[in-house]
């Protein structure tokens, strides 16, 4: 039903809720009533302050569900996740129906809570369509709820839905470093789509996010190498740094040979002074 230790997560979330609300509010959360009502009314009880969470709790969560984090969440978002965790999941059909209905009538704050709770839900395989639908949203905070510190997409989406998520993240200027699985799910199809996208940007004389090359590096071949060469020939320093980082992920010999002409970039990568994270800052 659950693909992680749900009891442990439940007790950690409960402890965080406890530390961030009054006893009355916790009691209210645990009262039996229609989920729809509790879910909608919840912020009126909890307020919307950003939660305090200990480093230990944060680490525990990441150990049980790698990549998942509630750091920086507001108390209503966490409270809603906690509500969903307490929902009876024994009847799969009913479980799906109840949660799907919440999605259908959700306002923005509710959507954020719902999508960021996907990795906690039972029957992960039944939320794939819902997750793909969320990626079609144009509401920034909803996209971030799916993209940032959320291991659900990388674990559950098929390749085309995953590629859609990544492209959408670039199109909407998201922080790529917060996307769980961004490197592990890199794939050749995506590298080629990104190459096309970069060509469009070049044609329009628009800026190209250097992090895009991160998804190209592993797949450099004869065609993609042409793009990399252009970075070194026509690009600025950031472009060359991105090109160097991309080559450092590649086994394509002509690319590796090109990089040897830029010893200072090679050294910077070897010393870890230059990496994708530092590049985007």
């Amino acid at each position: 039903m659950f693909n992680y230790k749900v009891d442990e997560i439940r007790s950690i979330l409960k402890a965080i809720v406890q530390a961030n609300t009054t006893r009355d509010v916790l009691a209210w959360l645990e009262e039996k009533r229609a989920l729809n009502t509790s879910f909608v009314l919840l912020p009126r009880k909890t307020g919307k302050a950003i939660i305090n969470i200990t480093a230990h709790q944060s680490k525990q969560i990441d150990t049980i569900i790698p990549g998942f984090s509630v750091d920086g969440w507001s108390i209503d978002r966490l409270g809603r996740a906690y509500l969903l965790l307490n929902l009876d999941a024994s009847d799969q059909k009913e479980y799906f129906r109840v949660i799907e209905a919440l999605f259908l009538a959700a306002e923005i704050g509710e959507l954020v809570a719902l999508y960021s709770t996907l990795p906690l839900l039972a029957y992960p395989e039944i939320w794939v369509k819902r997750c793909s639908e969320g990626i079609r949203s144009n509401i920034g905070s909803v996209l971030e709820a799916i993209m940032y510190h959320n291991p659900y997409p990388a674990q559950n989406l098929d390749q085309s839905a995953w590629n859609q998520l990544v492209l959408k993240a670039f199109f909407t200027d998201k922080d790529i470093n917060k996307i769980i699985g961004i490197d592990t799910r890199a794939n050749k199809e995506l590298a080629y789509i990104i190459s096309d996208y970069i060509h469009e940007r070049w044609a329009a004389k628009r800026e190209v996010n250097p992090n895009l090359w991160r998804l190209v590096g592993k797949f450099i071949d004869e065609k993609l190498f042409e793009d990399i060469k252009r970075l070194f020939e026509e690009g600025n320093l950031v472009d060359r740094k991105a090109g160097a980082l991309a080559i450092s992920q590649s086994n394509y010999q002509p690319a590796i040979a090109l990089l040897t002409k830029y010893p200072e970039l090679v050294t910077a990568i070897e010393n870890k002074n230059l990496n994708w994270d530092s590049l985007s800052r």
Binding site: K48, A106, E107, G109, E110, G140, S141, T172, K178
Partner: protein, 328 residues
């Protein structure tokens, strides 16, 4: 629901000399009635530039009658979802009121279904009232759903935003108030909208809030509004634009403030009429936190600010140079 229902009815009148908005620089405005769904991003940008920091979008008639419950559901969802987000992109805090408008109350089969889904929406965050409801043609069906929604307001403790009719306005306004009282609503929780010189006195005398829609040709002009402010003061009075799909002006609130300033209304009264009173009235819903939009000049929707994300902060939409013919 406002106001010009036929474009042919509009007579062009000589334009009055332009009023500069310079006098109200730095002031904040709250437009408690504006249908942004029908407006463009240019309007949002102009409103933000003119100092509008928050607004209320009442559920209304979209011009095209709805034929099914799903289009109502999606419309309500858009008021608490997509439109709210769109507004946040311009640094304007977006609230809404939810209700079945009087016009569509006449489709009884559909109205029944709408009444069933209303409770799903009225408790959502940022829903600050039941509205806009009331009379259009003053039919029995309109009265029935008006009464049912007053009961809903009572049960939920939400304020009510009343649309008063175009035809037989005085009678319709009086009747709307009578019925609200009959249902035991506190007049202090009821905002009677689209007032004019003929209706305002009774509305105020009976303890209701009096809202004025500054809307060209068919409703109040803002010069008349200045005279009303001079006569009645600022207690329980507010102005709105009710800008929608008709010829209307989303800058009606700041423009009226500018005119009031030029015509000698005190700064304190202007603030009450164009900002504070609307907040006081609708904050009775418990859904308005002034801190969400009051930080001068940089209203940022806090819910859009996660973990240092910068891209979607309100008021930081890229600007287009409108005077250039180059589009890049």
């Amino acid at each position: 629901m406002c106001c010009t229902h036929s474009f042919e009815e509009v007579k062009s009148e000589p334009l009055s000399p332009p009023v500069s908005l310079d006098g109200i620089k730095g002031m904040k405005f709250f437009d408690p009635h504006v249908h942004m769904t029908s407006r463009t991003t240019d309007d949002y940008q102009a409103m933000a530039d003119a100092g509008v920091v928050a607004l209320i979008e009442p559920a209304f008639w979209l011009g095209q009658p709805r034929t099914g419950i799903d289009t109502f559901r999606d419309y309500y969802s858009s008021l608490i979802g997509w439109e709210r987000f769109r507004s946040s992109q311009f640094g304007i805090k977006h609230y809404c009121t939810i209700g079945l408008n009087s016009r569509e109350a006449n489709n009884e089969a559909l109205a029944e279904q709408v009444m069933e889904i209303l409770p799903l929406f009225i408790y959502k965050e940022g829903v600050v009232g039941i509205g806009e409801i009331g009379f259009d043609d003053q039919t029995p069906a309109e009265e029935k759903y008006y009464r049912l929604q007053l009961e809903l307001a009572k049960e939920s403790g939400l304020p009510v935003q009343i649309h008063t009719p175009h035809r037989d306005k005085k009678g319709g306004t009086k009747r709307s108030m009578d019925i609200a009282i009959e249902h035991g609503l506190d007049p202090y929780k009821v905002i009677v909208d689209h007032n004019n010189e003929e209706t305002v006195k009774e509305v105020l005398d009976r303890g209701f809030w009096a809202a004025f829609t500054i809307y060209p040709f068919t409703k109040m002009g803002n010069e008349r509004m200045v005279d009303i402010a001079k006569q009645y003061g600022s207690e329980r009075i507010m102005v709105n634009s009710a800008a929608d799909w008709g010829i209307s002006d989303p800058l009606a609130v700041p423009k009226t403030a500018a005119l009031m300033k030029i015509r000698g209304i005190s700064a304190a009264d202007i603030e009450l009429i164009t900002y504070r009173n609307a907040i006081t009235a609708f904050a009775q819903s418990g859904q308005i936190d002034e801190a969400d939009f009051a930080s001068a000049g940089s209203a940022i929707d806090q819910s859009q600010k996660f973990e240092g994300n910068t891209i979607l902060r309100g008021g930081q939409q890229p600007r287009i140079d409108k005077s250039s013919i180059i589009i890049s």
